[in-house]
């Protein structure tokens, strides 16, 4: 029973990881961009929510409605002003520039908010739970998981059934030729990043509600996100969800053996999977 509980908890945790990863999957899939600052952007979203919630006296999940457009706008500007100049075939320019952004973000947050851990207060939601059979399942983790499924379904629908999604896929296939169709490459990439950061806003707010955060935790969130994307396989959003769940379950089961083993277990499972399937489990794109 304990094991079933661990699996359920792991699955729900996977929802949070999938939210970390969804934005990353979008960016990596459309633009092949490795965004080292992604984790720090998740943390930034949590801080923005903190400030908005405190200033306007809002519940974090309500403040989210403001955080999303703020992060989306930030993403659009970031892409058009800086990141678009790094797009070429080489991995190094975007890697380096986003490393730079990561350092700038971490230290800016440090200056603005200090290193003290913060937390978003969601009230009763944090401790509520539901009885499902013999298990007590937290309400918040359930909401996070459900949100992850909704977000991925929405992104999936957007990708394959809207003009914007077509534009993303075409630009990702052949940047040059997409321009012949009247698509402004810079604008399309800007929109992709805006969308990704809007999703990242959701991830950041849930992160902030779930645990305490400080400017330095971005790196590990980035890794969890990338692990979920890579396990799932490039270009497959549902794969990213699966990747998140696999990671979550690996961690919770690892924790059952030994509490300090939780994160390590996730990494080891990740390495094992890519040792056998270097392109992930369900890759859709090369």
């Amino acid at each position: 029973m304990d094991w079933i509980n661990a699996i359920v908890q792991g699955t729900l945790l996977g929802g949070l990881y999938a939210l970390f990863a969804a934005g990353l999957s979008l960016i990596f899939g459309v633009m092949r961009l490795v965004n080292i600052a992604h984790g720090d952007l998740i943390v930034l979203a949590a801080y923005v929510c903190l400030t908005v919630a405190v200033m306007l006296g809002l519940h974090p999940l309500v403040a989210l409605g403001l955080v999303m457009p703020i992060m989306a706008a930030l993403g659009y500007v970031l892409q058009r002003v800086i990141l678009n100049r790094t797009m070429g075939g080489d991995i190094l320019p975007p890697l380096l520039v986003t490393f730079g952004l990561s350092v700038i973000l971490q230290n800016s947050l440090l200056m603005a908010y200090s290193a003290d851990p913060q937390k978003l207060q969601a009230g009763a939601l944090e401790t509520m739970s539901i009885e499902i059979g013999p298990l007590a399942v937290g309400t918040l983790p359930l909401i996070v998981f459900a949100t992850a499924v909704l977000v991925i379904a929405a992104l999936q629908w957007m990708f394959y059934h809207t003009a914007l999604g077509r534009a993303f896929r075409a630009t990702s296939d052949r940047q040059d030729i997409a321009q012949l169709m009247g698509l402004n490459r810079s604008h399309v990439f800007g929109l992709a990043m805006a969308l990704a950061l809007a999703v990242t806003a959701i991830a950041g707010v849930f992160l902030g509600i779930k645990t305490s955060f400080d400017p330095s935790i971005g790196g590990s969130r980035l890794i969890f996100g990338f692990e979920a994307v890579i396990i799932g396989g490039l270009g497959n959003l549902w794969g990213t969800l699966a990747g998140g769940v696999i990671l979550g379950i690996s961690q919770t089961i690892g924790a059952k053996f030994h509490p300090g083993f939780q994160i390590l277990a996730g990494h080891l499972v990740f390495l094992a999977i890519i040792a056998v399937r270097p392109r992930g489990l369900f890759p859709r794109v090369d």
Binding site: G100, M111, I230, L264, F270, L271, A275
Partner: protein
């Protein structure tokens, strides 16, 4: 008739540069006699960062292996050194070569895994490996677990007699490792292996069709870098006298800043990391008082260089003529001057 056409690697500039380098090394070797304690520490740090940058450039700029996880070996080196001396009872000097071997063994195993990955996957894979190292060492209680351990006084004292002598010993070790790293990379690049590497960097498919064994070339570079980075890690934590998982495996200190140094200086040349390390320490020493602003400035400079001058400061200095200080490229000599 051009009977005296010949291939030469040296130019006036590079010959004089090598002489100048030798002179500088000799002067720096004598530093314990003319420099103060704080300056010795600074120089030592400079040498170690230069070594890390040279190795990362070797890996990424020459072999095309963009690893974001070299900090795994820095931490490994630190922990291996602490373990060998404090738990294994080895003398610090004796532990050094063992540390190198440990690093080469570890990187061989890691290579078997991460070489299956390409591009971004490779980069993230190396970072995850570094995290695995960090989390694993955090579990080892005899090495201080999560909070870390200090180097015992006995070990420190066995370096040399007297504080000044110990500082000098530490310093000379750093200088020696820097010379070693530069020498190894230089010799490798001058060899046939080095030419093969450049060929791979320029066009992998063409290189393969010439019979160059891509996997083996990259493997050798990765293992050499790993082994030497591990040695550098040992020296870093010998200097710091204390190790903890977060400090040993800090991605910012031992990867991000190293990458900044290489890119600011100029990736893909031997001179670049030297210039980059100079810029890094210049920024650090002048802006140190401003705390986190210095780090933000570093990030901004790195981004600006990458966007505006992708071949780095050295790239700007060397110009289109391709001047080099280290005699690496071959050129044909004895051709009649072509006029304008």
């Amino acid at each position: 008739m051009n009977n005296d056409l010949h291939i030469s690697r040296a130019t006036r500039l590079s010959t004089w540069s090598m002489v100048a380098l030798a002179v500088i090394v000799i002067i720096m070797a004598a530093a314990p006699s003319w420099a103060g304690r704080a300056e010795l520490r600074l120089f030592g740090e400079f040498f170690l960062y230069l070594s890390l940058a040279t190795l990362w450039n070797f890996l990424a700029g020459y072999a095309g292996l963009v690893s974001v996880g070299q900090h795994a070996y820095v931490g490994l080196g630190g922990y291996a050194f602490f373990a060998l001396t404090m738990l294994g009872g080895m003398h610090p000097y004796a532990a050094m070569p063992v540390v190198v071997v440990a690093g080469m063994l570890a990187s061989s195993v890691v290579a078997l895994l991460v070489f299956r990955l390409r591009g971004a996957y490779f980069a993230i894979g190396t970072w995850v490996v570094a995290e695995v190292f960090r989390l694993s060492f955090a579990q080892v209680s005899s090495l201080g677990g999560g909070s870390g351990k200090s180097l015992s006084l006995d070990i420190v004292r066995s370096l040399a007699d007297g504080r000044a002598a110990r500082e000098a010993a530490s310093y000379w070790l750093a200088l020696a490792v820097m010379v070693l790293v530069l020498a190894v990379v230089f010799v490798y690049l001058r060899s046939r292996q080095g030419v093969a590497l450049t060929a791979i960097r320029d066009n992998e498919l063409a290189a393969k069709s010439l019979g160059i064994n891509i996997w083996r070339s990259k493997f050798i570079v990765y293992v050499l870098s790993g082994g030497l980075t591990t040695l550098i890690g040992a020296l870093i934590f010998l200097q710091k006298l204390r190790i903890s998982p977060d400090a040993a495996f800090s991605v910012n200190d031992w990867t991000a800043f190293v990458i900044f140094i290489v890119v600011i200086g100029g990736i893909g040349t031997l001179e670049g990391p030297i210039v980059g390390t100079l810029v890094y320490f210049l920024l650090r020493e002048t802006l140190a008082d401003l705390g986190t602003i210095y780090l933000i400035a570093l990030g901004v400079v790195a981004i600006l260089i990458m966007l505006k001058a992708p071949s780095g400061v050295w790239g700007l200095i060397r110009g289109r003529a391709g001047r080099e200080l280290f005699p690496l490229s071959r050129r044909v000599c004895g051709l009649p001057d072509k006029g304008a």
